[in-house]
Symmetry: C3
Subunit: 134 residues, 3 copies
């Protein structure tokens, strides 16, 4: 069973979708299995991170922005804007697919874990994540 989760972003940053992901699992009525998440983009990615304290996701975003700044003069892939090539690099350094076991009908995330879309482009985007439950 698969479903497409569409998320709307308005700038760089982490967007949690744990409850939407769990709803897809609920709908599948699968009690024990695997939930695979796949993002269909190369300038946004997936990450599992702490969802308790917003300072954590802010620090993640700021650190990665500093590692891969837009201001770099080295990039040649620049037609779509200064934020595009750093977005591809940030995606390559994080995840395009994540698989989470489902046990007793629940994504078996740890106490502090949430699943996030990590948007690496500035401005508004609509992002598709396929969740496949089996």
């Amino acid at each position: 069973m698969h479903e497409i989760i569409t998320l709307h972003t308005d700038n760089k940053g982490l967007y949690e979708f744990t409850s939407t992901a769990q709803q897809a699992v609920d709908k599948s009525k699968i009690n024990e299995g695997l939930a695979t998440f796949f993002i269909r983009h190369t300038s946004a990615s997936l990450v599992i991170q702490e969802n308790a304290d917003p300072s954590c996701k802010n620090d993640l975003e700021n650190w990665l922005e500093k590692l891969v700044p837009e201001s770099s003069q080295e990039f040649t892939h620049t037609m779509e804007g200064a934020d595009d090539m750093p977005a591809h690099i940030k995606s390559a350094l994080t995840q395009t697919s994540i698989t989470i076991p489902v046990i007793d009908g629940k994504l078996c995330l740890g106490t502090w874990q949430g699943i996030f879309l990590w948007e690496h482009r500035a401005h508004r985007h609509s992002r598709q994540i396929i969740v496949y439950i089996s």
Copy 2:
């Protein structure tokens, strides 16, 4: 079939658990399938790396420590100590889930590959990895 592997760590570094992982596959009696490993933490991660020469894992640890040093003044998520925010970043840069095909009852790792828990926190921790075999 799933199993929880609990590993005890006493400091930052890579802890191999390839033989424990293979034992879970043996126990499942699955001859051909997939073994998915999922770590239920955001300050420790999973990585497949060379397990022949200990210098490799030492160099990995030292390089990542230098990329994400505790001494950074930029972090705001600091309540749990100076090693906490770097641990989240290091986890985001490595893996929370890894899937390895099982063929002829064996994890089909390459000759030099081992599967490791990468602990990013100082001090002792108990870490849970779910292995799901199907």
Copy 3:
């Protein structure tokens, strides 16, 4: 159903194998399921990236080379040459396994997504990727 894809590389860089991957899916005759890719090496990795504009993969390669240069004096794991330890680090920062849902017999990649082997060693290598389709 599994298959081994063997790719020959002659230097560092990204090598696309999307069409070979789709051929394996075609051969399996699976209409809906999951395709898991697993690379059996620790100095080459997998990544999903933009396959439309070659400048993107060149910038990815150059950026990562600068982040993990061969010239570093810190490495102790140097017996196999100066490109070996950087190759392990680059592999740890990217992916060893990637899972892509299959829908209507097709890998459900986004419009601009391709799947690549990322070779991190200089000189010629032969690389094995296991594709497991279920």
